[in-house]
């Protein structure tokens, strides 16, 4: 057999390729019946030889490689190993070097191949050719695309209207987010929007207020002795659910002396509740009251960690005054949890060290989400479980370098001085850093100014945001919209220009992981196959556009391409010299990093709390000084007392707002008219919709609910059998789910695990675009949810509306 040769002639159907030969002979060897059918290749097997692959001439027949990279299917950035055969990616496994996954990989990551090989990817830059929404596009070259964007954005800048550009970025972390923010600063617009997955935002904000961190809390679950989960979907929807599953695997498998007890407090008997050791039902959205009730009992019984509190916290005495308002009988009445269970939870938490109180986006999905997140963090602090093994950590970011400071020119400075569109940090949303849900309102009202151009990166607000219709209207008013999506999603469909990105298996990028316990790590994402189409790394595209714009914008982007910009920052890891990769010179370091796919620093975290807490007091703040100063400043500007101002926006006084307190969750609609609470949830497979175009994930989501494969492509609404009986409905009946702002069709799935007061709907289906596997399958529950933005946090809660169900 010849060693290095090109692919066999596709016309020569008789050619027995090396691979097919092995395939056939292998099967036969296993069968031990080599004589049976040795003479032919399996005629039914789909042969890959006829499928053209870009760059296949660089591979010899049968050549196989395993390339380390990082997953991009969700924001976690797990390390992956991709098996590539003759230039085709054929399997994705976990990367053993990655601390996040340690060689494992969740279902989303496994299906990355179908993101890469999606049949409906956008194959080249497209320009709208017809009315918006007509779906008529014209292919253009990259040069045309650059000049078009540069002309539009250049004109805005020349008119000193740079602030009329908005950027919506769906990445929570990483260099691409930084690059786009840098672009905004050097171009001169304050309107950089983080399109946070709606309710992670509450956690980000709580962490910022209490610990001065800009990341999610990092739970060291594997080393905890006791986990109290306040409605967190730790085995389902938590952003690092796979990490949790793995931690529990490690702890239950390898820890012979004790078993981590997991207690799930939640209204529904969810999958997480099932996997936990105990399930305690609770009234909807009252986790904050429970946390404060337990905190009160802890303090009363003198079980709190006074050493930690004295040395590392601020405002404990003020917090005590809040706690007094939560005696156990009152807490029991509000939460519906018997008093004896509250006492028991208190003693269990205090008695098992280290114990962890976990919240996530699912816990904090109600209108009082910020309070829930803050109360849970406060409870962790009372237990002294912050920054200790088995506890909660603030993010220990990898020591990457920063890019050189930008020097905005006068135009940019003028633009940056304008107030942001959404009123972040102003009287409307005093504590918010970015209020993407307020974007449509500002655009539609043209207040404080009009929006002339919009760039969308990794975000699909026309589908994922609450009340997406509002976004649609806003989009219609913006004259120039550019999308970087490689898929024709709803937002991209409404754009004027599409500059398709590579998928994550075709591009260079960093893979900055979220907070994860005491360790810090960094991953790298690299092309594992040749780009299939004429797409381009958006990092490169942004640099090109910036350079075409020139002036301070161009100067801020001095790199040849994004890879160069990325490597510049990665050298910080080399300089730190304490991680898992040792090298003699920077070049060798980068080479090793590319080969291994991940860099880790597992050095003992120590208890360097001065570094951990970046709050004004450099301590954990029960009483948030940051909130206080922000509110004071705004109130002064309005010539009101802080209490008056807060009352105006419907919040309790200053003392309460700066401290963790409880608020009653609010729901749109009256109970008489809309008897059920709509609980939209993220399932583990396609989250809020980005994986809905992958058939395997759709069918897995159904499988987990006991649905047949065909059924799982529809939308279903889960209700308690008693609810279904009351409404005279049976499994599979078509119904309207109706909220005060809209109605959608779904089929009924009676499920005993659902609380009788609720209707559950999985997010992610009901796309009107996004390719053949997502378009028109099911209905989008977000259409039922009004924006209802919380004035303090600026976030739009997901679990905030009532619905009624009627037969369709």
């Amino acid at each position: 057999m010849s060693q290095i040769k090109g692919k066999p002639d596709p016309m020569d159907t008789k050619a027995l390729s090396r691979r097919n030969f092995f395939k056939t002979s292998g099967a036969l060897a296993a069968a031990g019946a080599l004589t049976a059918c040795f003479k032919r290749q399996d005629p039914y097997s789909i042969s890959q030889d006829k499928i053209p692959v870009p760059g296949s001439d660089k591979w010899y027949a049968g050549e196989e490689k395993t390339i380390a990279s990082s997953c991009g299917q969700c924001p976690i950035n797990c390390g992956i190993m991709v098996r590539v055969v003759e230039g085709r990616a054929v399997k994705i496994n976990g990367n053993p070097n990655s601390l996040l996954v340690g060689g494992k990989l969740g279902p989303k990551g496994q299906t990355g191949l179908f993101t890469l090989y999606d049949p409906d990817r956008i194959q080249s830059p497209l320009k709208r050719d017809g009315e918006r929404g007509s779906g008529k596009w014209k292919e253009i070259s990259w040069e045309e695309a650059y000049s078009e964007v540069a002309a539009k954005l250049g004109a805005l800048r020349n008119n000193s209207e740079s602030h009329k550009l908005s950027v919506i970025c769906g990445r929570e972390r990483g260099f691409m987010r930084d690059l786009l923010e840098r672009f905004c600063k050097s171009y001169g617009t304050p309107n950089f929007f983080d399109s946070l997955s709606t309710n992670d935002g509450t956690l980000f904000e709580a962490m910022e207020l209490m610990m001065g961190s800009s990341e999610l809390p990092g739970y060291d679950a594997a080393n905890s002795a006791y986990i109290l989960s306040l409605g967190a979907g730790i085995f389902e929807s938590t952003c690092n659910g796979i990490h949790f599953a793995r931690s529990q695997g490690i702890s239950r498998r390898e820890n012979q002396t004790r078993r981590t007890k997991i207690v799930q407090v939640e209204a529904n008997h969810s999958l997480t509740a099932k996997e936990s050791d105990e399930w305690i039902p609770i009234k909807v959205g009252t986790y904050d009251v429970l946390a404060l009730g337990i905190a009160n009992q802890l303090v009363k019984a003198n079980l709190h960690d006074m050493d930690f509190i004295n040395s590392y916290t601020h405002g404990f005495d003020k917090f005590l005054s809040v706690l007094e308002k939560y005696p156990s009988d009152k807490v029991s009445e509000i939460t519906g949890i018997p008093e004896k269970d509250i006492y028991r939870l208190t003693w269990e938490l205090a008695g098992s060290k280290p114990a962890l109180v976990v919240v996530d986006a699912r816990s904090a999905a109600t209108s009082n989400g910020l309070e829930i997140a803050r109360c849970a963090l406060a409870l962790n602090a009372l237990l002294g479980n912050i920054g200790r093994p088995g506890g909660l950590f603030s993010h220990k970011s990898a020591p990457v370098l920063d890019w050189a400071q930008i020097k905005p020119d006068t135009i940019a400075q003028h633009g940056l001085q304008q107030p942001a569109l959404d009123g972040r940090g102003l009287e409307k949303y005093p504590l918010a850093n970015s209020v993407v849900d307020a974007f449509p309102e500002s655009v539609l009202s043209g207040n404080p100014y009009s929006t002339e151009a919009l760039l969308i990166y990794y975000s699909n607000p026309l589908y994922t945001k609450n009340d997406p219709e509002q976004f649609k209207k806003a989009f219609d008013k913006i004259p120039f919209i550019v999308s970087f999506s490689p898929f024709m999603d709803e937002s991209t469909f409404s754009a004027d220009l599409i500059l398709p990105d590579h998928t994550y298996l075709e591009r260079w990028e960093d893979a900055t992981p979220p907070a994860m316990g005491p360790n810090s790590s960094m991953g790298i994402r690299r092309p594992v196959v040749e780009p299939l189409y004429k797409s381009k790394n958006t990092g490169d595209v942004v640099i090109e556009i910036a350079q075409a714009l020139g002036a301070s914008v161009g100067e801020s982007f001095p790199w040849k391409n994004f890879k160069e910009a990325m490597e510049e920052r990665m050298l910080g890891l080399y300089n730190a010299r304490n991680g898992s990769i040792a090298a003699d010179d920077p070049e060798a370091f980068l080479k090793k990093l590319n080969k291994l796919g991940a860099w880790n620093d597992e050095s003992a975290p120590g208890e360097n709390f001065a570094e951990a807490f970046k709050t004004p007091s450099k301590k954990f703040e029960f009483y948030s000084q940051m909130a206080e100063s922000k509110i004071r400043k705004i109130a002064q500007g309005k010539k009101k007392s802080p209490d008056e101002y807060l009352r105006d926006i419907g919040k309790p006084g200053m003392q309460s707002v700066c401290l963790p307190h409880s608020e009653e969750p609010t729901f749109t609609g009256t109970e008489a008219e809309f008897p059920l609470l709509l609980r939209p949830y993220k399932n583990i497979t396609y989250a809020i919709g980005s994986g809905a175009n992958i058939p395997y994930l759709r069918e897995l989501a159904g499988l987990q609910k006991g649905l047949r494969a065909v059924e799982s492509w529809r939308s279903w609404v889960e209700v308690h059998p008693s609810t279904a009986e009351k409404l005279g409905l049976e499994r599979g009946d078509e119904v309207w789910v109706e909220s005060p702002i809209g109605k959608i069709k779904a089929s009924v799935l009676p499920t005993v695990t659902v609380s009788p007061s609720m209707a559950l709907m999985a997010l992610g289906s009901g796309h009107t675009q996004l390719g053949r596997f997502a378009k028109g399958k099911g209905a989008n529950p977000k259409r039922l949810i009004p924006a209802n933005i919380d004035p303090l946090s600026g976030l739009s809660p997901r679990f905030s509306t009532r619905v009624r169900i009627t037969r369709a």
Binding site: Y44, I242, A709
Partner: protein
């Protein structure tokens, strides 16, 4: 078809009558009917004639050759579905799609047993049990499905005539009939695993314990001039490799020191439908109390 010697038909019926005691009458008749209709027995059957002592706890391995088996720890499993997707991708298992015509035709070599309506049980990963006494092999009229000497119940797709006897015979419903030639979009075909043949329409397909990976491993250890160790195989199948909690462990049941064999000795270990005498080689480690498909009956 009645060209085969009469005695082999009798052998066949004797062979199945042993474990059939535990089966329902219907299943028994099903098996019997299958044997009678075909009246033909392949030569590959004779090798496994060990009789299963009913209701007695017995290891499946004979202590000589390797017997591949699996242990699934339900205490660790969180029902994430990684194993299901890993299996689909590794073994080129087609998805079903939303066409109402295709209702009920899904193929899941590895599946999740749903939660019971009463809220009992949990999502349970369900691969082929690779029975040591496999009812499916006994009914196959064309010897398309067979048991390897290492205990894997494998199948030659090309030989299958699609009669679906095996699908009926399997008490665990672990066999799926391929109703039509799988339809992938042209681009998806690039992601097909070249190590595993795709199946044509009209054949029955099933989990193979990733036999192709075992084969590759054998080639590898031969090249390295060493024996297969437990570490090599512990996470060998795609499902075990992907499981975040390492709930799925693979290995040699005849090797007393292998992890899977130790787990199978655990007091938490049990097998599904043990009383029907199939001697499955997949062991479940119970969460609290032993669970199984047959909990109600026992």
């Amino acid at each position: 078809m009645n060209m085969k010697p009469a005695d082999s038909t009798e052998n066949k019926m004797l062979e199945i009558s042993e474990p059939a005691e535990g089966l329902g009458r219907k299943s028994f008749l099903k098996l019997l009917g299958a044997a009678a209709v075909t009246g033909w027995i392949g030569s590959a059957f004779g090798s496994e004639k060990k009789k299963a002592p009913q209701g007695e706890w017995e290891k499946v391995g004979d202590g000589k050759k390797r017997k591949w088996g699996m242990a699934i720890d339900l205490d660790l499993c969180s029902g994430c579905g990684s194993c299901v997707v890993a299996c689909h991708v590794e073994n080129n298992v087609p998805f079903t799609g939303d066409d109402p015509k295709k209702d009920g035709t899904e193929i899941n070599w590895m599946t999740l047993l749903p939660l019971r309506q009463e809220g009992e049980g949990q999502l349970t990963p369900l691969p082929c049990m690779h029975c040591e006494n496999p009812p499916c092999v006994k009914v196959c009229p064309v010897n398309a499905t067979f048991q390897t000497e290492e205990g894997i119940v494998d199948q030659i797709w090309d030989r299958c005539i699609g009669c679906r006897y095996c699908e009926n015979a399997c008490p665990y419903s672990r066999r799926y009939f391929n109703w039509a030639e799988p339809e992938w979009p042209e681009t998806y075909k690039q992601a097909l695993n070249p190590d595993v043949a795709t199946r044509p329409g009209g054949v029955v397909e099933k989990c193979t314990f990733c036999v192709h990976r075992i084969r590759d491993l054998k080639e590898k250890v031969r090249a390295e001039d060493r024996e297969i160790t437990d570490d090599d195989v512990r996470l060998l199948p795609a499902c075990a490799q992907s499981c975040p909690a390492e709930a799925i462990i693979f290995g040699d049941l005849n090797d007393e020191d292998s992890l899977v064999s130790r787990l199978s000795d655990s007091p938490r270990a049990n097998r599904l439908l043990e009383h029907v005498g199939t001697k499955p080689k997949v062991f479940y480690l119970a969460k609290e109390k032993p669970i199984g498909l047959d909990r109600k009956e026992s």
